[in-house]
Symmetry: C2
Subunit: 493 residues, 2 copies
């Protein structure tokens, strides 16, 4: 999950606002939309409970979640778009779909960006003679340009907002700017705290360039105080010089800021050898459980197959790929024959481009009206809390009742929110979107850093997510009627 | 939390049953009790929301939870009743209560059992010549007798239930019985899975003695498949010979069982040097935030100060002590003056005797009618899910509304269940009991084993628990009227 999420969340809020403006009983606040008592006929969900609970039990007691994720992490631990690892991940996805018995397995082409970290990556504090004194842990941000050989040196200017940088633009000239506003620890919702800080990563280099700086550093997007830098995507505005840019570990950021705060002149040298290569042909990986009776109607479930080039991408988003594959496998293993077709999509390039998301939307334009619902898991493999959705009020009430069936998977809370970056474009066609929401307290300890490894995923927590998603898919794919679609956003499609 | 919990849960179920039998609208199932619509005047909780949310924010952004727990784990990592570590923990509790500004801080005496592990602890597989071939990881169970010097040797008999053992009693004579029924992985509620397996630990030695065995081994009470044995309490029936007894790691149990399943004769040697010493004078540690206006009414919050002699007792129950102390500190730090007195109790000897629980009940007999509510945290320091309570239907509905205020601490679910071993005796006086319920997927990975260390506690997860409990205490201590008390159980007090 990346900075594109922020844009996606904002897009969803505007959809919600659009909904709200057309219905006096709905609000734009993150509360479940109000529903007129007579609006929806009550769903009879009792017939589904037994199978839903069995799917969760199967996932816990004889599931394959951890085996699937282990296999992915062993096969393609580094799988950033365009890399050899990403190609291995695509082959793995196709092979795994066939192994679990999905039908119509295929690769759908998508041209993706290809950025490489390169060999050299260092940040050194320089002593009074300009010699390296101490090395601090950094990771170049995805999309950054390289420094010249020998790097870029400059005094450090520490700011906590773009406003502060603009106010101190005179000081910034020729310096290396450190954006050091932490994720707000008082914020209970860690994704909201991330959203409140990630502009520094995504736009910091452009703002620093406008102020005449030589490079931009950013405090890692985590509340953990440790030595692991967290990378992530950034984008250069078209009208500025592209500056080299990297993330520091939170402890390194604190150290630099503390030294600068003493009034001391702190000079650093940044060296990066990252580069952007020509786009590469890659693929979304798609497979299905064919429906019986309403096979033309589609329920999409997915995660993203690409991951940053550090750690294993175990939580982000190996977990989401695993949830999607295992949910389908659980349904097949119980011999269930859903009325609607369940389509598993492993999207490519969520992290630095969302090209797979756009390709899916574009290539399936003719059948989007038959997409009943799309669900994404891209928030880690922790214990489920429930789901978030942009669904219209009538669909929301039905989803709430369905999600309440998932209490044995700890997944019985439904709230208003985004579905996910990869399914985001489908909102333009009125498809109700659902995002899986696990516990988020540990997510940003691991996100986009070396710690996002298999051993930091708990087998039962992962399996509960798969079971919850299987249960939700089972109900949605078998309801007598599809959920009401969302109104098309004002921009149309 | 120990085998006494099982007894406690059973006691609470019987209380629930007693309630149910006297009210046709209640049920004994673990569902919220039904409430006649006119029974309770709606509580106006709006005035509390701002402070509740501020307590949670304070806990996350400037709390002391992790510092308090670190201090305990550093000062007294091993603190089983009667040990020097337990005495250090008592002194720590008193000192910490004074440091955070509690009033009326005192030590309340309680005579506790004193069991020691001793130096020798080994289980070896013997080869055909009776020589040690392989050593397996074990921990003696708390309360076990020692083996003779040189240990006890015998062939292994593997069973998965007492029924199976009785049916195979002829085979058991002279053998070493391994009770190897796993915690049921299909069970979503890990405490229920524990409750379904822990009889093997608590009563296995007595059942093995009845069958004429020489010693009893038990598969560790965890769903993790690893090399860490988990200890815990056991008790000898009065009518049987006390056999030495120990827990094996789950992998070791699988290994032994697999070898026995081949039909091979598997002979082992068990050596234990543990012993029970004379009882020791110890203490519950008590401190208060004095009430203003209704100071005679008491709201109790606590955890247990003792812990097993392995790991740090970080989750069990350093977390509960921390939650209780920090909740009080948060309330004081905001300058709140509760109407009722909030009493923090750090109980001694939960793990192998619950003597502190009984001492508190006995020594405070004269004021139990003024105990408005008692809350215990003894399920770990993980992300909150909410609370469980044995409260009567009217109090349940009020508590549910109060707990819903705790959504910013992820603690907004209330369900029927036990409060905790240490507050359990207060049920006899009609005090409504509440147990803090965090996520439980990881709890039994750490419970009673070397892995229950500080580094396995997440600072934000711990802080959310403290904030949630502070919020609940704030409301309960300031309600215009106390919650309705529970009917006295049939046995009276």
């Amino acid at each position: 999950m990346n900075l594109a999420r922020l844009a996606s969340v904002l897009a969803l809020v505007s959809v919600t606002l659009a909904c709200a403006s057309s219905r006096p009983d709905a609000t734009a606040s993150p509360q479940p939309p109000a529903l007129a008592p007579t609006a929806a006929p009550a769903l009879d969900l009792a017939p589904y409970r037994t199978e839903v609970e069995a799917l969760v039990r199967d996932s816990l007691s004889k599931g394959q979640s951890y085996a699937i994720l282990s296999d992915l992490c062993r096969t393609a631990p580094k799988r950033l778009s365009g890399s050899a690892g990403a190609a291995r991940a695509v082959a793995w996805g196709e092979r795994t779909m066939r192994a679990i018995g999905l039908s119509n397995v295929r690769l759908e082409p998508v041209l993706v960006p290809h950025w490489e970290r390169g060999e050299t990556e260092s940040l050194r504090i320089l002593d009074a003679d300009g010699l390296p004194e101490e090395r601090l842990p950094i990771l170049a941000l995805g999309g950054s340009v390289a420094t010249p050989p020998g790097g870029v040196s400059g005094d450090v200017l520490v700011v906590t907002s773009f406003e502060e940088l603009r106010a101190r633009a005179a000081e910034a000239r020729g310096k290396i700017v450190l954006f050091n506003r932490p994720m707000d620890p008082a914020q209970h919702d860690c994704f909201a705290a991330y959203g409140g800080a990630v502009d520094q990563r995504s736009r910091g280099a452009s703002e620093a360039a406008r102020a005449g700086a030589r490079a931009a550093l950013v405090r890692s997007m985590t509340m953990a105080l440790d030595d692991h830098p967290h990378t992530g995507a950034m984008r250069y505005d078209a009208d500025v010089e592209p500056l080299p840019t990297a993330a520091l570990s939170t402890r390194a950021a604190d150290l630099l800021a503390a030294r600068v705060a003493t009034g001391e002149r702190v000079r650093v040298n940044l060296q990066l050898s990252c580069r952007t290569l020509p786009d590469v042909l890659s693929h979304n990986v798609v497979g299905e459980i064919p429906g019986h009776g309403a096979e033309g109607e589609l329920v999409v479930v997915g995660g993203h197959l690409d991951a940053w080039d550090v750690g294993h991408g175990a939580h982000d988003d190996g977990a989401g790929c695993t949830h999607s594959l295992e949910a389908a496998r659980l349904i097949l293993a119980r011999g269930l024959r859903p009325r609607r077709t369940i389509r598993v999509v492993l999207f490519m390039n969520e992290e630095n481009g969302a090209r797979g998301a756009e390709a899916y939307y574009r290539d399936h334009a003719g059948e989007l009206e038959r997409h009943v619902l799309a669900l994404e898991s891209d928030a880690g493999g922790f214990t489920p809390r429930g789901f978030a959705t942009d669904a219209n009020p009538r669909a929301f009430e039905s989803l709430r009742a369905i999600v309440e069936l998932l209490d044995t998977a700890s997944a019985n809370a439904l709230r208003v929110g985004g579905g996910g970056v990869d399914i985001g474009p489908l909102a333009r066609a009125g498809v109700p979107l659902v995002g899986f929401r696990p516990d988020d307290e540990r997510y940003f300890d691991h996100h986009h850093c070396e710690r996002d490894t298999l051993d930091n995923v708990h087998p039962r927590e992962l399996a509960l997510g798969s079971g919850a998603i299987a249960g939700l898919l089972h109900v949605i794919a078998n309801l007598p009627q599809p959920l009401p679609r969302n109104p098309l956003p004002a921009s149309g499609r």
